[in-house]
């Protein structure tokens, strides 16, 4: 009995050791790629940052108005954005090499799928980015308008506006890349709820003075202080 068990254990260990030894060079090569890739990513980022700063890219970007566009999208430095781009490319290449080292067939299959998927992914990312930009613009406009009108919930209104557009654009983008197709109707419902809430807040806060005056008028209260007599222009 024990002999059979020992035989099974020995076979299992032999198989494990054999397969592990067969895969080990690939894993080691993959890990080596990973370490080198990470190191290269860091070094490439530093070199790119150094070169970009030396060539006064920030100032040039300022001059051609690129910085302004990046700022609108929430990117505060053109140099930082370029460095990040270099690092993302390094990371992607490292990941691909790591996969190839582990299993060339699997990596080739994944790479092929990735490139087939790329157009849809590109469109999805574009929709998402446009949504982010539109949400920032609309949110900023709502915020400024609400502050100038003296509305107390200016930030809330801006956040609701921004959030609504982000939810909508994310849902459309995800739907396009084929992820969570059931999300879209739910997102639209959430958005509708958000819009209704924002509208109710806006109308309520916006008409507060008018309603107050109407009530004062009905109750015979004296009117509020006069408006400024100042002529601004």
């Amino acid at each position: 009995m024990w002999q059979v068990v020992r035989q099974v254990l020995a076979q299992a260990w032999q198989q494990f050791a054999g397969q592990s030894l067969a895969v080990l060079p690939n894993v080691l090569a993959g890990l080596l790629f990973l370490v080198i890739g990470i190191a290269l990513t860091v070094v490439a980022g530093r070199i790119a940052g150094f070169l970009l700063r030396r060539s006064a890219v920030e100032r040039r970007a300022n001059r051609i108005g690129l910085t302004a566009w990046l700022e609108r999208a929430g990117v505060l430095s053109a140099t930082a954005a370029a460095v990040r781009l270099v690092q993302v490319v390094c990371v992607l290449m490292t990941a691909a090499l790591f996969l190839y080292a582990l299993d060339a067939a699997l990596a080739a299959d994944l790479t092929k799928r990735f490139f087939l998927y790329l157009p849809d992914l590109g469109v999805g990312v574009t929709i998402f980015v446009l949504g982010i930009l539109a949400s920032r613009m609309a949110g900023r406009r709502t915020l400024i308008g609400a502050v100038n009108r003296g509305l107390p919930a200016a930030r809330l209104l801006a956040a609701v506006t921004r959030g609504g557009i982000v939810v909508l654009s994310s849902a459309v983008a995800l739907d396009h890349v084929g992820i969570g197709r059931a999300i879209l109707p739910s997102a639209l419902l959430i958005l509708l709820g958000g819009v209704t809430l924002a509208s109710a807040l806006a109308v309520g806060l916006g008409s507060r003075d008018a309603v107050g005056r109407w009530i004062d008028d009905r109750l015979g209260h004296p009117p509020e202080k006069e408006a400024d007599g100042i002529q601004h222009w």
């Binding site: 001059r63 302004a68 700022e71 613009m137 502050v147 002529q231 601004h232």
Partner: protein, 425 residues
């Protein structure tokens, strides 16, 4: 420079052809001004008759589609008591008529129609006056036209006495900025009343701006700036007090700021070569006998303005951060915690804020209109600070403070020049 396209409707051209030739044209742009335009037409007519009896004058009302009785009032404002205003006879008849203007809706399009009609009639000089004026007298017409006819001036800007707290956009932004940029001390660059020579009329008409925002708004500052930068001879005419129909209290102040400040900032790009060269400023001659006038008191609620400033500091930081540096932001935050006389937006801080806004507008760090709209709480903060500081001061002291502000703008101009070139904030 492009040739001016024909903008007058055939019927208008026919009417002008009937008149033939005119020496002087007085233009009155209007929109829903039935209450006041009659007085303005009377004053214009009396001014032409009294001061230019030998000249052939035309009064042209360029109307933006009023649905009240503006046109009817103009048509019926025929007679005036000649014995009251005239010392010589005979008087040439003054033609007057209403022309609906075409093109982009706005005051600029109304001016364009007046200028084109004046050019069509071969007028030597053209004056433009607002239709909502209550304080206009026949002397205004003389003061706006005589410098053009007698002294060879091309552009006559108005010079008024106003209440010490009236015209705050002019006093706190447009005058100091225009003066520092272009080096001419035109005290009322967005006054609304102007006298223009034939040469300058032609120059205006041939500028490619009439389909842009200038046609909608910003025509006043555009005319002043274009005259200065075009090298035309400029003077100011002292017109006394300016009183006009009360503006709509619900008028959108932020929108107004966008119109005026946005145009000033855009003109900075058009005339960059000119203002970059200018250092300091020089006085612009004033014609007309200057006298003191009594002005109605003005009620100002500084508390509401300071509240809006604080709201801006609290909520608009993400927008302002893209415009101002850390020091400026820190100072604005500090101001938000102050009240009363401690709430003091000093001249250098204010001039720096306006210059930073101009640079940010130039760099398009944000939608341009949003950027200027976001400046409303800052502007109201400055007005509140100014009013609080000068509550007890007389008009002369206030004028001296405006002068101090102008000097601050001029002193900081080098920084603007540098930041503009670097695109830095």
């Amino acid at each position: 420079m492009m040739a001016a396209p024909e903008i007058l409707a055939p019927a208008v051209r026919e009417r002008l052809a009937e008149i033939g030739k005119a020496d002087l044209v007085v233009g009155i742009p209007s929109y829903q001004n039935a209450r006041t335009i009659g007085h303005v037409v009377h004053a214009a007519q009396a001014g032409l008759a009294k001061y230019f009896p030998d000249a052939h004058g035309v009064i042209l009302n360029s109307d933006g589609g009023s649905t009240d009785d503006t046109a009817a009032v103009v048509a019926s404002s025929g007679g005036f008591d000649a014995a009251v205003v005239l010392v010589s006879n005979p008087v040439r008849p003054v033609h007057r008529f209403t022309v609906p203007y075409h093109g982009v809706p706005g005051k600029g399009s109304a001016f364009r129609t007046v200028f084109r009609a004046a050019e069509f009639l071969g007028a030597q000089a053209c004056a433009v006056v607002d239709a909502d004026l209550r304080s206009i007298t026949p002397e205004w017409i003389h003061l706006l036209l005589a410098p053009v006819l007698e002294q060879g001036i091309d552009f006559v800007a108005p010079y008024y006495h106003r209440h010490k707290f009236d015209g705050t956009i002019t006093n706190s932004v447009v005058y100091p900025l225009t003066r520092a940029l272009y080096g001419k001390r035109v005290r009322q660059p967005i006054g609304g009343e102007f006298g223009v020579s034939r040469a300058l009329l032609g120059h205006y008409l041939r500028q490619p701006v009439w389909e842009t925002d200038v046609a909608r708004f910003g025509i006043d500052i555009w005319m002043t700036t274009t005259a200065i930068c075009g090298g035309f001879r400029v003077c100011q005419a002292f017109l006394g007090a300016k009183l006009h129909d009360p503006k709509d209290p619900g008028a959108d102040l932020a929108g107004m700021l966008v119109q005026v400040l946005g145009t000033v900032f855009r003109l900075m790009e058009t005339h960059e070569d000119t203002w970059q060269r200018v250092k300091g400023s020089e006085p612009v001659p004033v014609v007309g006998f200057q006298y003191g006038v009594g002005l109605d008191p003005v009620r100002v609620d500084t508390g509401r303005m300071m509240d809006l400033f604080r709201r801006g500091v609290r909520d608009l930081e993400p927008v302002w951060r893209t415009v101002f540096d850390r020091d400026t932001m820190a100072r604005l935050r500090d101001l938000a915690s102050r009240a009363g006389r401690d709430f003091d937006i000093d001249d250098r801080l204010w001039a720096g804020v306006i210059y930073d806004l101009a640079v940010a507008h130039h760099r398009r760090v944000s939608e341009r209109a949003d950027l200027v709209r976001a400046a409303l709480p800052l502007y109201l903060g400055r007005v509140a600070s100014f009013v609080t500081e000068l509550a007890e001061a007389d008009g002369e002291a206030v004028e001296q403070r405006v002068e101090d502000l102008c000097l601050a703008f001029e002193a900081l101009k080098e920084g603007l020049r540098r930041d503009w070139a670097d695109g830095r904030r």
